[in-house]
Every structure is written in structure tokens, then in C-alpha cells.
């Protein structure tokens, strides 16, 4: 194999891709419904892409992967539940949810950014526990908030939201079904993929504006940034704002595709999945690109989709699922500990 290509791909990506290819081959030989599996891969890719892309601003600004993503996610959940509370349906509900989520997420990101600027160097640990705490605080909110919609509150008592809110008839798979079509048994979630592409383009443009470039200068070398007249804390704050706003919008897209809004403890580990995905994609804790985010999202979710059915057929035990967990977590560990720098830009 071409050595350059191998270097660019990176050994972790190679291992994961081979493992994925092996699972696909196995699934095929077991006669599993490949159409369904591939459709699920595409859908899960689209569902998670924005949540993973949300890692890029904070990584580039030097604050590491945004472990405080649940803070933004919760804002998205508030937006989505409000849409139902107001009895909105279809795209109205969807855009209302997004419209409420983004400013709320931005405020959350601003608060979180203030915290991050005080704990430079420990963003990952502080972010994780910040996420955990806010999820718990919000459990109280979900119980106490004066929501009235009978679709969401507990059927008995009539107080507090349910653990999962069904989006059936509201905005379930709104994007997924938009312009979707089926080829060889594989359903393409066109709307979802288009939305993902749009997010990528917007993020790409943003990261190349003066502000976006400043952000990446700040992350690359804060002393350099100061010498260039940049306010380091300001750009770190901004990165956190953008990241949390993306997380907020991301969970709305995720929920509509999933068909449920998951409340209470559900956002707890969402940040970890996103961090894992982007690291698997080849990003480091200091530098991340959109391509890396997309590759990582695909690999991570494709493995997730295919591992279980293969395991169920292949053996009685869950060894394949265990393998998946070992490999993906092993790669996260590798990504978190390595010191190497990325390849040349060209």
C-alpha cells in the first residue's frame, strides 16, 4: 500500500475501517437485510453529524473537545418541547424548535465559556462534570416546568415531562423523509443529508472568516494571538457559544430523525459519543477538520449500527458488541494520549 496514503489515513482509521468492512462482509454472508442496515448507517450519520461538528470550534480555539455539549443539547430540548407545547407541527415546529434552540444554546455557551476561561488546561475534566451537573439540574426542570401539553406530561398527575416524548405526527423524520428515495433497498434520507451538508458549508465558511481564523490562531498559539492583537478569552468564549448553539440545533435534528425527544438522563453521555466520533475521525485535541468530523461520525455510527445484528446472528454472546466497544474506546484512549502532530496541509 502507498505509504503516504497510509500515513494520511492513520493506523486507527485503518483498523476501524477494516473491522467495519469485516462486519459488513459478515452481515452480507449471514444474509442480513443489507438495505436496512445501510439506510440505518446513513440516517445515524446524519443524525449525529451536527453534534460532532459542534466539537470543531472549541477544539480549534484551544479549549479542547466540548465536553460541556450537554449544556447546549438541553437548550435544544427546551426548544423542541416548546414547539410541542405550542402545538406546532411539521416544518413550523422544526424551525420554531431550531429558532428557539440556537439563541438559548448561545447563551448557555457564553456562560460555559466564561467558566472555561477560568480553568484553562482542564477544560475536558471541568466540561465533563459541568455537563453531568447541568443534566441533573435539568432533571428538576423537566419535572417542575409548567408544560401542559398532554402529549408530553405524565399521563397520571399531569405534572412534569415524560422521559421520552413521541414526535409522531409532529416532526418525526421530517428531514429524513424530505425528498427521500430508495435505491436497491437502501433508503436515502435526502433531507437529512442535505441539512448536514448545509451545516458543513456554513461551518466551513465560518471557520475561514476573519473571526474563524482568529479562533484557530488563538487555539494554535495563544501567545502568537496576543502578539497579533487578538483577545484570547474573547475568541475562546465565542467558540464555546458557537459550539453550544450547534449542539442545540444538533439535538433537534437528532430528535426529529430518532422520532423521540429524550429527556432527563439522556444527554448525559452525548458529549462523549461526539468526542469519540471526532477523535476516531483523526482529529487531535488541538486540531480538527470538517472532514475528520464526517469520517469519524460515519465510522463510529456505522460500527454501532452493524455490530449488534451481526453479533446476534454470529454467536449467542455479545462478543461483537464487546469488540466494538473495545476498539472504539481503545482508539479514543489512543487519540487522547498521543502527542503527534497532524500532517502537512498540502
Amino acid at each position: 500500500m502507498d505509504n503516504d496514503f497510509l500515513n494520511k489515513l492513520g493506523i486507527p482509521r485503518l483498523i476501524i475501517s477494516l473491522f467495519l468492512a469485516f462486519l459488513v462482509a459478515a452481515a452480507f454472508s449471514f444474509g442480513l437485510p443489507m438495505g436496512q442496515i445501510f439506510s440505518a448507517m446513513l440516517t445515524r450519520f446524519g443524525m449525529n453529524a451536527l453534534l460532532v461538528l459542534a466539537m470543531i470550534p472549541t477544539i480549534q480555539a484551544g479549549a479542547g473537545p466540548n465536553f460541556g455539549l450537554p449544556f447546549g443539547i438541553i437548550c435544544g430540548l427546551i426548544g423542541a418541547t416548546l414547539a410541542i407545547e405550542l402545538d406546532l407541527r411539521g416544518f413550523t415546529a422544526f424551525f420554531f424548535a431550531i429558532g428557539v434552540s440556537i439563541p438559548l444554546g448561545a447563551i448557555a455557551g457564553w456562560l460555559y465559556g466564561l467558566l472555561l476561561n477560568r480553568v484553562k488546561g482542564q477544560e475536558m475534566t471541568v466540561g465533563t462534570y459541568m455537563g453531568f451537573s447541568i443534566v441533573s439540574v435539568m432533571c428538576i426542570f423537566w419535572l417542575m416546568a409548567p408544560y401542559k401539553s398532554p402529549e408530553m406530561v405524565w399521563p397520571y398527575g399531569g405534572d412534569g415531562l415524560r422521559v421520552t416524548v413521541v414526535l409522531d405526527g409532529r416532526m418525526e423524520q421530517l428531514l429524513d423523509r424530505f425528498l427521500s428515495f430508495t435505491v436497491n433497498g437502501v433508503t436515502i434520507p435526502t433531507g437529512l443529508l442535505l441539512a448536514t451538508a448545509l451545516c458543513c458549508v456554513l461551518l466551513w465558511i465560518f471557520m475561514r472568516t476573519r473571526t474563524g481564523l482568529a479562533m484557530s490562531v488563538v487555539g494554535s498559539n495563544p501567545r502568537f494571538a496576543e502578539a497579533s492583537g487578538l483577545n484570547v478569552n474573547k475568541y475562546r468564549l465565542l467558540a464555546s457559544v458557537v459550539s453550544c448553539a450547534m449542539g442545540a440545533a444538533g439535538i433537534v435534528i437528532y430528535s426529529q430523525s430518532y422520532g423521540f425527544i429524550q429527556l432527563y438522563q439522556a444527554p448525559l453521555y452525548m458529549a462523549l459519543y461526539s468526542v469519540s466520533a471526532i477523535l476516531i475521525g483523526g482529529a487531535s485535541l488541538q486540531r480538527a477538520t470538517i472532514t475528520q468530523a464526517l469520517i469519524g461520525t460515519f465510522l463510529f455510527n456505522a460500527l454501532l449500527v452493524i455490530a449488534l445484528p451481526v453479533a446476534n446472528v454470529a454467536m449467542d454472546s455479545d462478543i461483537s458488541e464487546i469488540m466494538r466497544v473495545i476498539i472504539s474506546n481503545g482508539i479514543i484512549l489512543y487519540a487522547l494520549t498521543r502527542k503527534e502532530v497532524g500532517g502537512d496541509a498540502r
Partner: protein, 533 residues
């Protein structure tokens, strides 16, 4: 063997990767004598001390040639522990004390006096208790010897620096076998009165038969305290003399030496430069750790290359860093008569000033970004260049790559292309990237600090030549700070010497070595009795 010298170093030579940094040094110190080592930064003093202490850096780079004798016995010092066992003590320039511990604990560190406890009878030595009263008594004794009258149980944190220095000396003194004490610039951080006390303490020590190797840049102290003076320059032993046989200005001259022929100097005579000032600095103080500036007044003429020189730690580096807003500063800086806002990097950049930092990897580069992005990054932020036109302005990669390709050619940056990460470049090429970044800001005043530090000779010359070219062709005013006097003298029109955070004076590159040496040692005005130019 009676009558042998306490320390004798015979024909000491050392190479680092084929680069000879010590060339056959030989000298000796008798019992109870003070020998001073003087020389510029890089003259070889630290290497010599590292050899004496058996530092790993010496042995991991191929050892050294020559012999060391202690009291007539050949000493084969392979590690700092062995040096200590042989009775060699060292007081460092930076304090090696544990701030949270008391003075006693610091003095007795790793040599604690212990007594048996119940646990130690079972588990052995590590479980013994400290015999604090005995330790206190020991510490007290050492401190009294050098006249340090403070409580021995005070924590080190919060002590005045002068006292910390004495605690270090007390610690060395407490080692009962101490024969030879090395004081590496002990007075650099002391006030004058503390320094005087230290010199007195040295007399007490020599009175007890301890020999002292004294390293200092303050020549008056050297004259006052030494029995012998050894002058080093570029790893060579230039002279060995006694204070009674020499004068301060003679030592200064020896230290600097002629390293440069007048034909290599491109600086212009003062008559060619008008008294038209582009920058007026008044009472500038900069809180840059290790390079503090304490009230500098300096004028920069339009179109000149002004050098700022001085020994390490005297504050020369702080001046440019302060003006460019990288360290907290105070004072009044006017460019073209207009006051520049201090502590704001942006204000300095907006006023057509640019800076090539001495901290190349720390401040000067985005190591994990491409050469091209490094070159344009500041211009994008400060001047909005290299962005596409229109409402949403994004990075114009074509313009960026085009410019970077030109710069690579112009400055002869050796790389695989404009996309290469700067981390992978050699020091010289990294420096060229830094210079390119500063130039494209189109400044009319450029600060360059230590432009050739850690760079091979070829790249050095290219960089200096390019600075001269920028100055002559584009009329760019350059303020170059450097530790290498020879380099300053080769391209500057005038050279300002900084001593103890203040401007000591301004010399022409053609002025005598003696004047440079005196000025860097802060002795110039005592001899010439005239005010700073």
C-alpha cells in the same frame, strides 16, 4: 600532599557536536582563595561549571578533555552527587529552594538529622523521626556564620530575595565537608547593600578555609572580592590576573575582545542620519520576568538600524516586548509625535510597528499551521488582508499561497512548499517565516529580537543581510535586540546598551571594545563621568 592547590583545572576542553566551546582552560585556586570568572554570555562559564559538577549534559555529549585535581588528588566527577561528596557546593542563579518549607528544612534537606522511633525499629531508616532541635541548631550555626540573623523556622516563601540567597549559602555551608563553593552570579538579584553583605560573608567563608569560585558580571565586586581573576572569551582563557595588577576597564576590554573587523561593519556615521525621531521612549518600564525594564529613555532615528545590547537579564529584551504590548508596561512612547497606547498589541500593530519575537517557537509561530498561514495570520487579523471581497469575507487561499511562494523565494526559506508545517522547519527557516510575517504587515518600524539565536551561520548571514537590505531599500527603521555584540556591531548604526533595566549609554559600532565592555558591566560612567548620550 601539602601545598597543593584546593582546585586545579588542567587543560580543560569541551566540544558540543564538533563545536569547541572550551579551549584548553587551566587555572588553580588555593585554600581560602576567591577566584572570579568573568566573561560575556556564552564565553563558557556555565559549561565549565557543568564540568566541575559532573552534570549529565556533559557526559551525555561525549565528556570533556583535561583533568581536575582537588587538593592534589585527581577527581573524576561523573555526577552532581559525586561532586557534593567531594565537597563542592553550588549556589545557583535561580533559587533552588522549596518555598513551602522552613529555612531549617531547606538547609537540612536530604541531610536531615534523624532519631529512632518505634516504627523505625521495625521498618528501618525511612521511618525514623526528624530530630528537629538538632536540625535547628545546625541551621542556626550556618546562618550565624554568614550573619543571617532571621528566625530559622520562617518559611522560605515570602523572604526577600537577598535572604533567600543567604539561605542557599547557609545550606552549602551546612555540608560539613565543603571545600569549594561556586557562587554563580549571586549578586545579580541583590540590592547593593545586600550585595555588600554577601561579599562580607564570602570573606568569612574564605577565613574558614573554604575556596570560592565567583561568577559575576559586576566588575567592581569582582575587583573587591577576588584574589585571582580569570577572563574567558569564546571558550578561551584570555587572561589570569590579580586585582592589584589590573583595572576594571582593562578587564572590560579583555572580556569583549576584538571579534569583528571594521570592514565588516556596515553602520553609517552619525552625520548621515538626521536627528529626526520616529520613536521617542520616555521612562518605559516593562514587567517582563527575567528581563525587567526600569525606566528607559531612548530615541530612535528615522531610517536607522538601532541595536540594543547588554548582558542577559539586564532588560534589553524587555524593551521591544513592552512597546509591542506583550508584557505589562508603563511609560510614554511616542511614534512620529503621537502617543502609542501601551499594553495593547493591537495599538502598536495599527501604528505600523511590527515585531519579530526572540521567543520564536513560543510567540513567533503557529507550529502546527502551514508556512503560508503563519505568514498571513497577523495581516488577516490586523489589516483584513488576504480575504475575499464581498459581504462574507473568507480566506483568499490563492492570494495567501501566491504571497507565501514569493516570500519563500525572496527569503530563501528551505521547505517542501508553502503548505509545510512550520514545526518541521529548521530554526533558521522558522526565523525567516517570522520575518516574512512581520514584513507583510508593511511596518515602518520593525523590532527584531535575537534574530540569529540558535541558527546556523549561513542562515545567520542571510537574515542579517536581509535586514540591512530592508533598511536601505525600503527605508525601514529597525530596532534590533541581540545578545551577540559582534552581530550588533556588524549591521547597526548605533548601539544602545542596557544595564539593570536602564539605558547605560549609546555607542557607535566603531567604539572601542573597552567602552562596550565597561558599558555592559555598568562601569562606563564611573570612568568617563559623562551622562548617557
Amino acid at each position: 600532599m601539602t601545598g597543593a592547590a584546593r582546585l586545579e583545572m588542567k587543560n580543560i576542553s569541551k566540544q558540543y557536536y564538533g563545536n569547541r566551546v572550551l579551549k584548553g582552560l587551566s587555572f588553580s585556586v588555593n585554600k581560602g582563595e576567591v577566584l572570579s570568572l568573568v566573561g560575556e554570555n556564552g564565553a563558557g562559564k556555565s559549561t565549565l561549571m557543568n564540568i566541575l559538577f559532573g552534570m549529565p549534559v556533559i557526559h551525555s555529549t561525549g565528556g570533556f578533555d583535561g583533568e581536575i585535581f582537588l587538593d592534589g588528588e585527581k577527581a573524576n566527577i561523573k555526577s552532581p552527587e559525586e561532586a557534593m561528596k567531594l565537597g563542592i557546593g553550588m549556589v545557583h542563579q535561580e533559587f533552588m529552594l522549596l518555598p513551602g518549607f522552613t529555612i531549617t528544612e531547606n538547609i537540612k534537606l536530604n541531610r536531615e538529622i534523624t532519631k529512632d522511633s518505634l516504627l523505625s525499629k521495625i521498618f528501618g531508616k525511612p521511618m525514623k523521626w526528624l530530630d528537629l532541635p538538632a536540625m535547628k541548631a545546625d541551621a542556626r550555626q550556618s546562618m550565624d556564620t554568614i550573619g543571617l540573623g532571621i528566625d530559622e523556622m520562617l518559611p522560605v516563601r515570602g523572604l526577600p530575595v537577598g535572604h533567600m540567597q543567604f539561605v542557599e549559602i547557609a545550606r552549602e555551608l551546612d555540608k560539613k565537608n565543603i571545600r569549594l563553593l561556586v557562587l554563580d552570579e549571586p549578586t545579580a538579584v541583590l540590592t547593593e547593600s545586600d550585595a555588600d553583605k554577601l561579599l562580607e560573608a564570602m570573606k568569612i567563608l574564605t577565613g574558614k578555609g573554604i575556596s570560592i569560585l565567583f561568577i559575576s558580571h559586576r566588575l567592581d565586586e569582582v575587583m573587591a572580592a577576588s584574589d585571582k581573576i580569570v577572563v574567558l572569551r569564546d571558550g578561551e582563557q584570555i587572561a589570569e590576573t590579580r586585582p592589584s595588577e589590573t583595572t576594571i576597564d582593562r578587564i572590560a576590554e579583555l572580556m569583549v575582545g576584538r571579534k569583528i573587523e571594521s570592514g565588516e561593519m556596515v553602520g553609517r556615521p552619525p552625520s548621515e542620519l538626521k536627528d529626526d525621531y520616529i520613536l521617542e521612549i520616555r521612562d518605559l518600564s516593562v514587567a517582563m520576568p527575567g528581563e525587567r525594564v526600569k525606566g528607559v529613555n531612548l530615541d530612535v532615528k528615522r531610517g536607522e538600524i538601532l541595536g540594543i545590547g547588554g548582558l542577559a537579564g539586564q532588560g534589553k529584551i524587555g524593551i521591544a516586548n513592552g512597546i509591542m504590548g506583550l508584557f505589562p508596561s508603563d511609560g510614554d512612547v511616542k511614534k512620529n509625535g503621537k502617543t502609542i497606547k501601551l499594553n495593547a498589541a493591537r495599538a502598536s500593530l495599527d501604528n505600523a510597528m511590527a515585531f519579530v519575537s526572540e521567543d520564536r517557537r513560543g510567540t513567533g509561530l503557529l507550529l502546527d499551521d502551514s508556512i503560508e498561514f503563519n505568514i498571513v495570520a497577523t495581516a488577516i487579523q490586523v489589516q483584513g488582508k488576504f480575504l475575499t471581497p464581498g459581504k462574507v469575507r473568507i480566506l483568499d487561499s490563492q492570494a495567501m499561497t501566491g504571497l507565501a511562494t514569493n516570500m519563500i523565494q525572496e527569503l530563501d526559506i528551505r521547505c517542501t512548499g508553502p503548505g509545510q508545517l512550520t514545526r518541521r522547519l529548521s530554526g533558521g527557516n522558522q526565523q525567516k517565516v517570522c520575518i516574512a510575517r512581520a514584513i507583510i504587515l508593511e511596518p515602518n518600524l520593525l523590532f527584531v529580537s535575537e534574530p540569529t539565536r540558535g541558527i546556523d551561520i549561513g542562515a545567520k548571514k542571510l537574515i542579517l543581510d536581509h535586514l540591512v537590505k530592508l533598511n536601505r531599500d525600503n527605508g525601514l527603521t529597525i530596532v534590533m535586540t541581540s545578545s551577540e555584540l559582534a552581530e550588533l556591531r556588524s549591521i547597526c548604526d548605533r548601539i544602545a546598551i542596557v544595564y539593570q533595566g536602564k539605558l547605560e549609554g549609546i555607542l557607535l559600532p566603531t567604539d572601542s571594545d573597552r567602552d562596550f565592555g565597561l558599558m555592559m558591566a555598568g562601569e562606563y560612567h564611573k570612568f568617563h563621568g559623562k551622562e548617557a548620550v
